[in-house]
Subunit: 464 residues, 2 copies
Amino acid sequence: MTIHRPIIEILRHGTPGDRLQVKGWVRTKRSLKEFSFVEVNDGSSLSGLQVVFSADLPDYEPLSKQLTTGTAVEFKGELVASQGKNQRVELRAATVKIWGTADTETYPLQKKRHSFEFLRTIGHLRGRTNTIGAVMRVRNACATAIHQFFQERGFLWIHTPVVTASDCEGAGELFTVTNLDLENPPRTPEQNIDFSQDFFGRRAYLTVSGQLEAEIMATAFSNVYTFGPTFRAENSNTSRHLAEFWMVEPEMAFCNLQGDMDLAEAFLKHIFAYVCDRCPEDMQFFQDRIDGTVLATAEQIIHQEFARLTYTEAIALLEKSNRSFEFPVAWGLDLQSEHERYLAEDYCQRPVIVSDYPAEIKAFYMRLNDDGKTVAAMDVLAPKIGEIIGGSQREERLEGLEERITAQGLELDAYWWYLDLRRFGTVPHAGFGLGFERLVQFMTGMENIRDVIPFPRSPGNAEF
Amino acid sequence: MTIHRPIIEILRHGTPGDRLQVKGWVRTKRSLKEFSFVEVNDGSSLSGLQVVFSADLPDYEPLSKQLTTGTAVEFKGELVASQGKNQRVELRAATVKIWGTADTETYPLQKKRHSFEFLRTIGHLRGRTNTIGAVMRVRNACATAIHQFFQERGFLWIHTPVVTASDCEGAGELFTVTNLDLENPPRTPEQNIDFSQDFFGRRAYLTVSGQLEAEIMATAFSNVYTFGPTFRAENSNTSRHLAEFWMVEPEMAFCNLQGDMDLAEAFLKHIFAYVCDRCPEDMQFFQDRIDGTVLATAEQIIHQEFARLTYTEAIALLEKSNRSFEFPVAWGLDLQSEHERYLAEDYCQRPVIVSDYPAEIKAFYMRLNDDGKTVAAMDVLAPKIGEIIGGSQREERLEGLEERITAQGLELDAYWWYLDLRRFGTVPHAGFGLGFERLVQFMTGMENIRDVIPFPRSPGNAEF
């Protein structure tokens, strides 16, 4: 028993006359008097292969009865041209083997619509549905496109650590990683928990970003990217937040903000083009069933140049817009979701890259512009989605970086190695971050981020 | 300033007469009276580009003085055929820009040999050395080869969760993930820590394996693989253990142990062939400087069929060997490292796959063979390395699985969803696990596993 020929290959390249076997799970069955039509799906594509299972075959009655939704089955037979208009070929079964049945009374995935909420409670089975199946194939294609994009350009994929001793970005709440006996932890003389006796010899956390480590690697290998899990312990029970999500973070030495923006645009164009090319049936499914704009959005991303605005220009446009926004608009205040959407959806009507934000509202590592007020930061804002990518040129000047760290109330000592990168052969460098699940949402039109990751982690939820 | 042309491209494809710029860091400088030879490296290859920097250029003296090891530099000029025998082309510099200096008094990476122990203390700089540079390029090539292998065969890359509520394999010590206030945690009426008030509503851990989740996905998509970080809280301060490491775990529906072994062998052959093809200079470096057998090993993996033995055959061979082993040899006892090495190095003199181990010494999820005593498990043993891959056909029969779980003292309830996979459309399926860092060690001959991962995590160590 070796790797079988996936159904997608049979659907695409199978020729009438081929003798083959197909293995998968029954999606639907229509029984007529002289034969049954059985749709078999193996997860390789949205469409299954139609199998014609004739009443002339031995044990037709009992076997046909067992061919219920969810049953694992193996048919051998001959591929023939299909009479039906929904498929090019179908399999005329000569033999059937039932590997595992699925009781119609207890199997939760009967042929009907299920809410995504319900499907989340059966995360071990939901991959077998049309929608989650299409999501996971598109997700895989996105991931493959990301690797292809960077590898073709000579970027090294680097694995930055999940466990870290520093809250380097100061980016919100952190999960602690420990193997102390929490019921009875070791104590310091002051009666605090003695984390020096913990596994890593100090308190350790789950990472919120691999950027700072990516900067290390960029100063050795020039162009690198991370693609790994990151974490937020924020109690955000929303359709846009996960406690564990995958992030992509390229980092380029000898690159400024301009190069960073160019790369971000080329990157999104590449991913959308790749997925539309590889998963046309799945993308059509999202267009038809989930969000009637996904194909137009993909077309736009692929073919239209992104708009570019400075933050200062964006503020002026927002002030002139005569819109009544919920949040105030003024130079120095951060852009809110409603502002971002106005810029992308209404004013530009396409993705827009906003750059050069006020230093006060951005992280310490972003490079101060010559005006002394703004930093070389950029966000890619997409219609309907808002921020999809955030990036910056990094402060590569030692003194400026020290000032920014101190000004934000952070400890210089904690950044000794980050500062060393500015002491020894410092270079202009830049990078960005893309939340991978946000990208998959953007691509598919799926409303809830928990439905675009195999096993979502959120407050109160670590099942499966 | 956009993505620059990597030096490896110039070395491979540059033509005398090309006018170009090169950006990178000075590795070495030799100053003669009329010019300096500067070797510039940007991390894209082991070799740098030789730049000839003439004394005729303006400010030659002060600039040349600054071109010390580690200095970040940009040269523009014309590519010319090299007179030297170490390179095909070299750059005749017309201009130089120094981006960042590296003080010879304080920059730790002066031109001399450094011990790997010392380099680990400067993890933020060690990627700039020849050895760690070559390791990271080979590591990237291994990772790319893994994705290519599976994607070409229609496997989906699935991201299994890092945070998990179950110690599903019972595989040793776990790290706890929490955001409780550990100094003052909520308590149950019994005065235990009340993990129901923790972020995930229960006690959560870092995963030790994505296998069980991969099985979920294989029963929807047939062929899948994980490639992500996994964790062990074992206090093993050895050259072969990491607390955080990356693991690759394919899982195939409709596949038995035979198919699993075939895939594992094809997989290793593919990776070695890919890396030797893509990183010939780095591999030659490991051969010359680190381990004089790595090229022969790669040749053998690529071209020679792996040996295959059952555990029962292996025990018989070990008993007949007349070797005096430290650990006893008897049917029912696990193979120790010395036994594995005897089988691979001495008896087979090539990689060997040992299969069908006693049920008692293997995990609950492995499929019981018809003899009632052994399970459909397999380990790929490599000369010098020992176990590099471990896999099995999984127990797909509900009753047998329940018996195995109970027999190992585990709770059936914790496995409700894993058991469901056997209730609804169960299929024969199999998979294996590869420790990614072990693979990189195997490929490069590097002795210490901490030197084949960018930022190693081990007891007492979570720096960078």
